[in-house]
């Protein structure tokens, strides 16, 4: 939140420490303080940032080609179970380096999380804000659609669609994105209704501001904090659904490295080499936990009055 200083006198005033003391901190300063004081948000954010960097720079970091098979080196255990540093996390049943596959797998998980959250966010926010702002018939239609969507079991529908269209990253992402908009719609509808009743919206209407302008400059900034929280929750949700679909063999297809697929491929050996399942499972768990920590943190930090 940067201040819009448009003239030299204003700028001089803004930097006057005495004046800041009198006026107290700006909302931006208070937000910064709350962010830095919130452990869950910092930890979650750091883990996500780490995994994101890992995904972006995968070709530079990965020690091996994630697709290179070596039947001579199948099922090598990770370092901590007596393996060698050549393959720090061991190799899978085709002799592919597990660490490299894990690093490349972060790309799939994060991509599906972000893209699915954006698709469902656009659909759900549009519907929710329209329903909350216009009310009446629009609201009735949207509420009906939300109920229809809530009556459908996500994994079952995704399974059916993927089974028909064939599993690929694009299909899975799109299907998940088209299925997860319900929470966006519900939350945005409720918060828009709340904000709409505020007098500053009536004041903007009385001034003659157009509906798009009111939605963009009066409503959206005041419901954005809820939106951010739902985005994080749905990201985690999408990542888990992708992993579940891949585990069931209907998600991302081999040999693409995906964490869900790695768990699936490791499950036949689970009783003999449990780390094949545990390592991708633990990373998946960490990512989803980090996203949820960040979501909770963002809620606390952006709307401290709404805690609990």
């Amino acid at each position: 939140m940067t201040q819009t200083v448009t003239n030299p006198t204003g700028a001089a005033f803004d930097r006057d420490p005495l004046l800041e003391q009198i006026l107290g901190p700006t909302p931006g300063q208070m937000l910064r303080r709350r962010v830095l004081g919130h452990q869950g948000l910092l930890i979650g954010g750091a883990v996500i940032a780490l995994l994101a960097l890992m995904a972006i720079f995968a070709p530079l970091i990965a020690p091996h080609d994630p697709f290179a098979q070596s039947l001579m080196n199948r099922m090598e255990p990770p370092v901590f179970l007596g393996g060698s540093w050549e393959h720090p996390l061991g190799t899978d049943h085709l002799g592919r380096d597990y660490l490299s596959r894990l690093i490349y797998g972060a790309r799939v998980s994060l991509l599906i999380g972000v893209v699915a959250a954006v698709i469902s966010g656009v659909i759900g926010t549009t519907m929710g804000v329209a329903a909350g702002y216009f009310g009446g018939r629009v609201d009735a239609v949207v509420t009906f659609l939300i109920n229809v969507r809530l009556a459908m079991p996500v994994v079952l529908v995704a399974l059916a669609v993927v089974a028909i269209l064939g599993g690929s990253l694009t299909v899975v992402t799109t299907v998940v994105g088209l299925l997860l908009w319900d929470r966006f719609a519900v939350v945005m509808r409720a918060s828009t209704r709340q904000v709409r009743a505020r007098e500053y919206v009536a004041a903007a209407r009385a001034v003659g501001a157009s509906t798009p302008r009111i939605l963009l400059t009066e409503i959206m900034p005041n419901i954005a904090n809820n939106l951010i929280v739902v985005v994080t929750l749905e990201m985690a949700h999408a990542i888990l659904i992708e992993a579940a679909l891949s585990f069931l063999g209907l998600g991302v297809q081999p040999p693409t490295p995906s964490w869900g697929l790695m768990v699936s491929e490791g499950k036949t050996m689970m009783l003999f080499e449990p780390w094949l399942v545990l390592i991708p499972g633990a990373v998946l768990f960490t990512l989803v936990l980090a996203i949820n920590l960040m979501g909770d943190g963002l809620r606390d930090v952006t709307a401290p009055e709404n805690r609990n």
Partner: protein, 343 residues
């Protein structure tokens, strides 16, 4: 003063305006009509301050919304300078009529700076460039008595009184003629109320504004208004010059409202108003005169038939048993320092 009021060019006029909402009762209940305004007529003359008083739920705020064009009346006509409200350009109307709302904590967008809030009308109407808008904001801040350094602060950094000054600045930045004040002081501390009222009075004098001043606080109305209309359950029951009304209300309801004003002396206790029943349910209004279940003077005729509003030289009255012009205050001595009590 009285002759002025009889002038024939009202800037704002309501003709037989009714507004009905449909209210749903319970999950499966049928929706029933709630009539917020019933056949209401009102004139606002250039340069006057019309005080509109009444209890919560009598339709005061609905009236404000209709005048601002935020809601359309179910029936009847709203005329601005003699032309119907609906036929006029929304932006042109916005330049003439602006609101000041009750709650300065809800009327300022918390995510915007003060400069953004005040310059919104200018930006919507495309008046001037960024630099001249900044200049206009500075100027209007000075008019409402705020230092220009607050431009880059947020509403959360300001007190209630300062926020209300910002709301007034936003309403006045386009130099409107008519300002609809919807209880502009009732959310403020008593100590701040008088500052805001004096500011409103000064602005009216300096800028030649016309106010419709909605309030449930009679002391505030007496301080500012030139003419007062008393509303009860969606209707005007009495309308008179401020002095005349405060010297001797003719409608029993106006009388009860005047009596209900608290005094500064706590030993006098809460005034007795002789209002037996509670405020009626607007979905299910009483027969005849809507006020009859609470009225000490009510007769059988009041329950059967609604008294038609009568316009005479003193204003308007809708009652079968109006008081005479003699002072009717039950406690004139205690009631005199009302202004200091609640302003």
């Amino acid at each position: 003063m009285r002759n002025e009021t009889k002038a024939t060019n009202p800037v704002l006029e309501l003709k037989n305006v009714s507004k009905t909402y449909s209210v749903k009762q319970g999950l499966l209940g049928k929706s029933r009509p709630l009539t917020a305004l019933r056949d209401l007529s009102l004139r606002l003359e250039q340069g006057e301050v019309l005080g509109l008083v009444g209890e919560s739920g009598c339709g005061k705020s609905t009236l404000a919304k209709i005048l601002l064009g935020l809601e359309a009346p179910t029936s009847g006509e709203v005329l601005v300078d003699g032309a119907p409200l609906g036929s006029q350009d929304r932006l042109a109307l916005a330049r003439r009529i602006q609101p000041i709302f009750q709650d300065p904590y809800s009327s300022l967008n918390p995510r915007k700076t003060i400069a953004d809030i005040i310059s919104l009308p200018l930006r919507v109407h495309g008046i001037g460039d960024a630099a001249s808008q900044q200049a206009a904001v500075r100027e209007i801040l000075d008019v409402v008595g705020l230092p220009s350094r607050v431009m880059h602060t947020y509403p959360s950094q300001m007190s209630g009184g300062q926020r209300q000054r910002v709301a007034i600045a936003r309403a006045l930045v386009m130099k409107p003629d008519i300002v609809i004040c919807d209880e502009p002081t009732s959310a403020l501390d008593v100590s701040v109320q008088s500052q805001i009222l004096n500011l409103l009075a000064d602005l009216r004098r300096d800028l030649g504004l016309t106010y419709l001043f909605i309030s449930h606080n009679l002391a505030v109305v007496e301080h500012l208004a030139t003419r007062v209309a008393v509303m009860y359950l969606g209707r005007i029951v009495e309308e008179a010059e401020t002095e005349a009304l405060f010297d001797g209300a003719r409608h029993p309801y106006s009388e009860a409202l005047l009596t209900s004003v608290l005094t500064p002396d706590p030993s006098l206790g809460v005034p007795r108003m002789n209002l037996g029943a509670a405020y009626p349910n607007p979905i299910d209004p009483p027969s005849g005169c809507a006020f009859h279940p609470r009225c000490a003077k009510a007769t059988e005729a009041c329950a059967r038939q609604r008294p038609a509003p009568v316009v005479d030289e003193d204003g308007l009255i809708a009652c079968f048993h109006p008081n005479g012009m003699a002072p009717t205050r039950s406690r004139p001595a205690e009631a005199a320092p009302r202004l200091s009590a609640s302003v």
